[in-house]
Structure formats: C-alpha cells, structure tokens
C-alpha cells in the first residue's frame, strides 16, 4: 500500500519580467523522506522553494499538501498548515533571548506560555544550545544562528520542513553536526525538503534528489543515479563533460 504523498507540486511556473524563473515544475514528496533540491546558480531553486513556502505565488499550477491545496497561501497560513521553513539570511529577533526566539514559533501551536517554554528548552537541548538559552540572540556565532533558525522552525511543530542552505559558510565539523541534526529531525517524523549547494552534504543526506536547470526539472531520482545523468553533468559542468562519469 503506497501512502499518498505529503506534498504534491503540479506544473508550477513563475515569471519575473522577462525571465522565466521556473517552468512547469512537478514533483512529489513522500512522508518521511529527505528530498534534495539541486541545480546550478540561477536554476530556479530558490523561486521554487519560495513558492512552496508561500513567499511567492505561482503563476500557474497548484501545490497540494496533505491533500489540501495551499497554492497562493500566505506564509503565516502555510505555517499553520504544518510547513515550516528556515531562511538563509534571516536575522534573529534581537530584542529577545535565544530561548524567547524559539518560543515565538511555539505560540503558533499553543497559548500556554509555560508549556511553550518547556518545549523551547527541549528544542535547544536537542540542538545542543542549552547553555545559550538566555543569551542575547544577536550575540551568538553565525553557526549558532543557523541552529536557532532551525529551532524556531521546529517550534512550530512542522510536518514538512523546508531548509534553505543550512550549511553555507559552515566549517566541516559544523556541517557534520548540522547533517546529524537534520537526520535526527527526520527521525522525529518530519519530512524535509532541502536546498543546498554543498554536494557532499546534500548527496549524503537526501533519500532522493531533484535537479533544476533554467527553471525546468531535468532529473528526479536517487542521488547515485542522478549524479551520473548526462543532463545533470551538462548543467553543472557544461557540454564537454556531459559524457563523463561521476
């Protein structure tokens, strides 16, 4: 028995002025997967990502989550439906402590401040940031801010988590830590869609990957297979290397 996919993206497109950023993109996400979204710069990954997150409305097509259409919903509504996201360049909420930052997400699910606080403390422990709980959110390191991003999103108890470039700028050991965290998040039952440039990370982490090039889907499959496909090699390395094997 195959379970219905958690997320179904059907033929979405987006045009900005003269540029067709995403065209006729369709893919599915099954419950409990980690799906990697790949592609060279300008391929339309961020646009596609933002359409699922509700930050941009698609020109065509529809997006269905848990059987319900969510196309064109605002980010706040998308969050309530159970989709969380991280931002690559987000600022922490400066006038709040690290713990309070995470609590903001918790208010999306509950009004009980004490319960939200306990949940937030648990999330910080999960992230290995327990001692930073009362630190000024502006004063933490860049990597800790990345983890805080993740913590805030986790506090909203998402069923699907959209992660945007979570290891960009991280040292190898930080990247390893983040990979471990992402795996453990999935173990807690969260489905993950991840956009990432660092090949090693995304290939190792994803159950499945999809590759975009010039706004179109050019590959969809298991990492090992996708990476050998000529189209994918051409997209990343150009015509001359299309025949090369990984």
């Amino acid at each position: 028995m195959t379970a219905a996919p958690l997320l179904q993206v059907r033929s979405i497109s987006k045009r900005f002025g003269g540029v067709q950023a995403v065209s006729d993109l369709s893919f599915e996400l099954r419950r409990g997967e980690i799906l990697g979204l790949l592609g060279p710069n300008g391929a339309g990954k961020t646009t596609a990502f933002n359409m699922v997150a509700g930050a941009i409305a698609p020109d065509t097509g529809e997006i269905v989550f848990e059987g319900q259409p969510i196309t064109g919903l605002r980010p706040a509504q998308i969050c309530r439906r159970g989709i969380g996201r991280t931002f690559q360049l987000s600022k922490p909420f400066g006038s709040l402590s690290v713990l309070e930052n995470v609590m903001v997400g918790g208010f999306a699910r509950s009004r009980d401040r004490r319960a939200i606080r306990r949940e937030a403390e648990a999330i910080l422990d999960f992230l290995g940031m327990g001692e930073l709980a009362h630190a000024d959110a502006n004063d933490v390191t860049a990597f800790d801010r990345r983890k805080l991003e993740l913590g805030r999103a986790l506090a909203t108890q998402p069923k699907l988590l959209l992660m945007d470039e979570v290891v960009a700028g991280a040292t190898p050991s930080e990247a390893q830590e983040m990979v471990g965290l992402v795996r453990r998040v999935r173990e807690r039952g969260v489905t993950i869609l991840i956009v990432e440039h660092v090949m090693k990370v995304i290939m190792g982490l994803s159950d499945r990957v999809i590759v975009l090039d010039y706004g179109k889907l050019i590959a969809d499959g298991v990492p090992a297979e996708v990476v050998a496909q000529p189209d994918v090699l051409k997209a990343y390395f150009g015509e001359r290397y299309a025949g090369a094997r990984a």
Binding site: A53, P75, S97, L99, V104, F107, D136
Partner: protein, 333 residues
Amino acid sequence: MQSPRQSRLGAAILLAVAVLAVLLPWIVQDSYFIHTVIMVLYFAYMATAWNFVCGYVGQLSLGHSVFSGVAGYVTVLLFIQTGLSPWLGMLAGGAVAALLAVAIGFPTFRLKGPYFTLTTIAFAEILRIWFENTDTFLGIPLKGAEGLVVPLIGDSWAAFQFNGKTAYYYIVLAMLALAMAATAWMERSRLGYYLKAIRGDSDAAESLGVSPTRYSLIALCISAFMTGIGGAFFAQFFRYINPERNMGIDLSIDMAVMAIVGGQGTVFGPALGALLLHPVAEVMRSWFGGGVLGLHLVVYGVVLILAVTYLPKGIIDPLSRLIGRGRKRKEQP
C-alpha cells in the same frame, strides 16, 4: 542572571515610588505643584500608550495625537449634546479611536520606516485640518479652530468634574498604573513576542505563523484606545478641547520623544522620559515667563539628538543595569 538582592532592590524602589505617588497630595498641598505632577503623569500615560505599539513593533508614529483628539471630541460632544457621563463617553471615544486606528493602520503598516512615519503625520494632519475648518458637522457644532468648552457643572463624579486637583490626580495616576500594567502583561503574552518578532524580521516572523499586519493592528488599536482615553481625560481636566492642543503634531512629537528618551520597548521607560522632560518644560516656562516661548522644545530637541545617538535604548537602560533589574525581559518561570 540577576542576583536575588538586585531584584529585591528594584522591587523596593518600585514600591517606594508607588507609596510616594499615592501619598503625594497629602504631603504636598500646593495646587500648582499638584497640577504639574498631574501633567507629568498625563504625559507619562500618553508616552506609555504610544510605546505600547511603537516601542515594540519598531515603527515610529508621529500622528498618535489624532487618537487623543478624536476621542476627546467624541467624549466632549457626547457630554454637551446628550449629557452622557464622560466616564462612559471616554470608553466610546476610545472605541472610536480604536476603529480609526484600524482604518489608518491597515494601509499604513504596509509601508516601511520613514514612509510609515510620514503617512501617520499625513493622516493626523488631514483630520486636524478638517476639525479646524469645520464649524458644524451633521448639525453638531464643532466650532473649528475655536474649540469646544465643556460646560461647568461643579463638583460631580458623574460629570467628571471636581473641585480641586486631588481627584484628577488619583484618576490619572490610576490610568498610568493600568497602562503600565497592560504593557507588562503584553510583554509576557503572545502579542508581545509577536511584536518583537515582527520588529526583528517581519518575513521570518511570518513564516513562524505571525501575520504582521494583524498583530501590528491589534497593538495599534489597544494603543489608540489608551491614547484616546488620555485625550478625553485632558479635555475634561481643562474643560476645553481644540484641534491644535489635542490633535496637533506637537503632542505627537512629545509622546514619541518622551518614550524614546526614557526607553522604548520597556514598561517604565516612557514614564521615566516624561518624568525627566516635562518638569524641564515647566521650569523653562516659569523661569522665563512667556517671553521665551519654545525654549523647552529646544531642550527636547537636543535631548532627543543625544538620546538617539548615545543612548538608543533610552535612559532606563543604564539605570536599570545599575539596579540590576535588567532591561531585557528574561523569561520568568
């Protein structure tokens, strides 16, 4: 974490101030002094009301006096035309101000930074100019720039008129206490967290389930309601209301400057700002008489520049660090 001794010191200071405030009219009987303190409390209240939204969501409104003016007019008109007690009239005025806040806030919150500020000024000026140029509206006399005088009834609770200043003093003191309590409650509530999140990063807040417009509007409505009640009090205290005094840009700027100099985004900052700045104005006025108009505003201007440049978190920041209460709202168990 703050040491227990420091928290107790803060609480002790607060208690001492509160006791002093309650006993003041018995200690000092001078009418002029009490009048001045009433004005300090009034400005502290107005600055606290302004701070409820602007200090937390991080937008600068310089048109807040419109709420004070509109509510004041509603209260006074209801009293003059129908004899409705200003106690009830105030609530009606505050409600009208809150509705106005929705009408103004809904389009304006879409704007950023200085454009938001300029738009609040524009809305306030539109209404003030309308009031100034309108003699009667739907048959109700507004008397334009001349303003309305509240008829003297004499000592009467229902009519919100009292002989002597003492009753007014306790009323405005209670109002201030309530406004500060409301702010403290808000800080610990979902609204407070959401406002600070919106201020920090509106897009990130949205993706965490916060609708920025909705929560900004909620805060603005509450702030407008409080400001309106303050305006109604002012009108009743002086038994006079006109567009310049109650709806002018000067009042808007005063509210904002006091809250900012004292410390935005805190419970006690705005009151502290009023406590520091208003007496300066009074002193300037009494030392130099009417001959040197505007000197106190020069002082306000200089203080504002210094505060924004060197003490952006307000005067309460170094003060509270001294006492150890800590400006940051740490999570309380």
